[in-house]
């Protein structure tokens, strides 16, 4: 079970205000834990200063694993373990192996990517989502700050939230 920590949560009504608020809070030297919104907000990754996702590298590696697995399996079965002539082809008919190789590459790349994504974003079946505010599924945007990971004190963060147009500031322990 993960350690519980204290969060300060700023609630915003409008995505434009939210984008400006993120910038304001970050300029104040505060590290943001996460931002939640009921719909995708354009430009939010840039505002949060996120680096590009490395998920595509994971996909490539899983794809590579699929390719090698498929080729090993087919050559192992058809060429090494039990050589058989099928349809007049030789023991290592590379063109006939391509469809299976392709399928396994795609399968492992996509499963690997989805699985990795679910684990890193805490969407695994046994994962407990951190719900800072129920209204994020309806009409509110929130900015959550982990107090334990920030040097700026609570009052100053609260002021940063309010100055940037937060409609309320709540404290939450999760």
């Amino acid at each position: 079970m993960a350690q519980e920590s204290n969060y300060l949560v700023g609630v915003y009504e409008d995505e434009d205000v939210l984008l400006k608020a993120i910038k304001h809070v970050r300029d104040g030297g505060v590290k943001i834990h996460e931002v939640y919104s009921p719909f995708p907000v354009h430009g939010i990754e840039d505002a949060l200063g996120y680096r590009r996702s490395r998920l595509s590298i994971v996909a490539f590696l899983f794809g590579l694993l699929g390719t090698s697995l498929a080729l090993t399996m087919q050559f192992g079965m058809m060429t090494i373990d039990w050589p058989m002539i099928i349809g007049g082809k030789d023991y290592a008919p590379v063109p006939s192996f391509i469809p299976v190789t392709f399928e396994l590459t795609v399968l492992l790349a996509s499963f690997g990517m989805v699985g990795t994504f679910m684990i890193i974003s805490n969407l695994k079946p046994w994962g407990k989502p951190k719900l800072f505010d129920k209204r994020i599924t309806d009409d509110k945007h929130i900015v959550a700050v982990d107090l334990g990971k920030n040097d700026v004190d609570e009052v100053a963060i609260s002021k940063l939230f309010q100055d940037s147009g937060a409609s309320e500031v709540n404290k939450k322990t999760l």
């Binding site: 590009r52 595509s56 349809g87 082809k89 063109p95 391509i98």
Partner: protein
């Protein structure tokens, strides 16, 4: 946005003429070396075959370039039409570049017809009259059965009116639709509002439907009929895929080169990214089509079908090019364009796009040469020279067309959307 007009400078023209001059020189060197018997297989002793002449190799190469560049000009117009039919906004700033490819259509038509009348007999086996004559020793019942496709309504073996009629009608309709699209598109420079956009969308739909049918039939006529006995039901798609990805590569290449020269300020790395994705995706699409055709034939192992790949893959003469074709057109773009950075940076596009274009020229070389020249084919100065001449002329015509109007319409209703394109 400020209107931008491309200037076809004297320097660019000079460079193109030098390029074509090199092409002429290479062609002459090539012709000399082929006719002097620098080639091989001159010892064709069997009576059934005609002796090989150097001009046959010139004819085959003319045909490769005719087909390749005619297709390139068409897919340019197709790209333009698809942008309207799909109501795409991102491409508003670059649409006129592929549209300009269409300026080659009339040249392609004339060149193709002239080449047919001069060289048709040497390129197309089915033009030989004795194939259709039951009493002659050269009678071929399979080709005679296909006679109507070329000669209808005339008697098989006479004048191929159906074949030529198709060619003329296709070129005529393509040209008329291109002209109309171009004319309406250029009106967007002066007339604002969405009226022209809707008109273009309707015209584009006509073009796409006509192109879908005609390009497929054209590829049977111009390319598949060379190997008259052989057939593939995927051939139309296969040719289209090859033309289309080279057209996308050429569009991307011209866009990044224009940007280097300071044009197209409306284009940012997101647009380049989209063009890069197009090249990446359709290189894979081409491979998919190519491989689907190949695998079915390989696996079924029916002699009348496998002969096509026996002539190309198992013939030492063409086998290296056969593998090279796959390396340039699949492995290279697939591995290089896989990362996001490669698709977004002009540096990569400038390397990969020419490779794709040359690669697909090679694809057409492999479709046409083994059927026309058998083992007398080769790859040397002659091939390069004619390709240089054609590509120089093609680029000249395209750039001339591009200089006629602003590079994008300042009244295009989706220009604003394109300006803020972000992926």
């Amino acid at each position: 946005m400020v209107e931008e007009k491309f200037e076809f400078t004297a320097k660019t023209k000079k460079n193109l003429f030098i390029f074509m001059g090199v092409g002429v020189l290479l062609t002459i060197i090539g012709i000399i070396s082929v006719s002097m018997g620098g080639g091989h297989h001159e010892l064709e002793g069997d009576a059934g075959h005609h002796a090989f002449h150097w001009y046959q190799r010139v004819f085959a190469n003319l045909w490769i370039n005719n087909v390749f560049f005619a297709g390139l000009s068409l897919v340019g117009v197709l790209f333009f039409a698809i942008q309207y039919a799909a109501q795409a906004g991102w491409s508003a700033g670059i649409k006129r570049i592929p549209l300009s490819f269409g300026a080659w259509i009339p040249f392609a038509a004339v060149l193709m017809l002239v080449t047919y009348f001069v060289a048709g007999h040497d390129i197309f086996h089915w033009t030989h009259h004795d194939l259709y004559d039951v009493d002659s020793p050269g009678y071929d019942s399979i080709i005679a059965g296909k006679g109507a496709y070329f000669f209808w309504p005339l008697e098989a073996g006479s004048f191929p009116i159906f074949f030529l009629g198709r060619m003329v009608i296709f070129f005529l309709v393509w040209y008329l639709l291109f002209n109309k699209l171009k004319q309406v598109a250029y009106e967007e420079d002066s007339i604002s509002g969405t009226e022209k956009w809707y008109q273009l969308r309707k015209l584009s739909a006509f073009f796409i439907i006509f192109f879908a049918v005609s390009s497929s039939m054209a590829s049977w006529d111009w390319v598949m009929s060379i190997d008259t006995h052989w057939f593939s039901t995927m051939f139309g798609w296969y040719n289209f895929a090859s033309w289309w990805v080279s057209g996308l590569a050429l569009t991307a290449l011209i866009v990044v080169l224009l940007k280097d020269k300071g044009y197209l300020k409306i284009v940012n790395s997101n647009h380049i990214h989209d063009l890069g994705k197009f090249m990446f995706a359709f290189s894979i699409f081409w491979t998919y089509i190519w491989f689907s055709q190949f695998l079915l034939i390989y696996y079924a192992n029916i002699p009348e079908e496998t002969i096509y790949f026996v002539e190309r893959w198992k013939n030492g003469h063409y086998a290296p090019l056969f593998y090279l074709n796959l390396i340039i057109n699949f492995f290279f773009p697939f591995l290089v364009l896989m990362t996001r950075d490669a698709k977004r940076h002009a540096r990569f596009i400038k390397v990969i796009a020419p490779m794709i274009i040359v690669g697909h020229w090679l694809d057409f070389y492999l479709m046409i040469t083994p059927g026309t020249l058998k083992s007398n084919g080769g790859f040397g100065a002659l091939e390069l020279g004619l390709m240089f001449i054609y590509s120089g002329a093609f680029i000249f015509v395209v750039l001339k067309q591009m200089a006629k109007a602003p590079l994008f319409a300042k009244n295009h209703p989706m220009l604003e959307e394109s300006l803020h394109h972000h992926i």
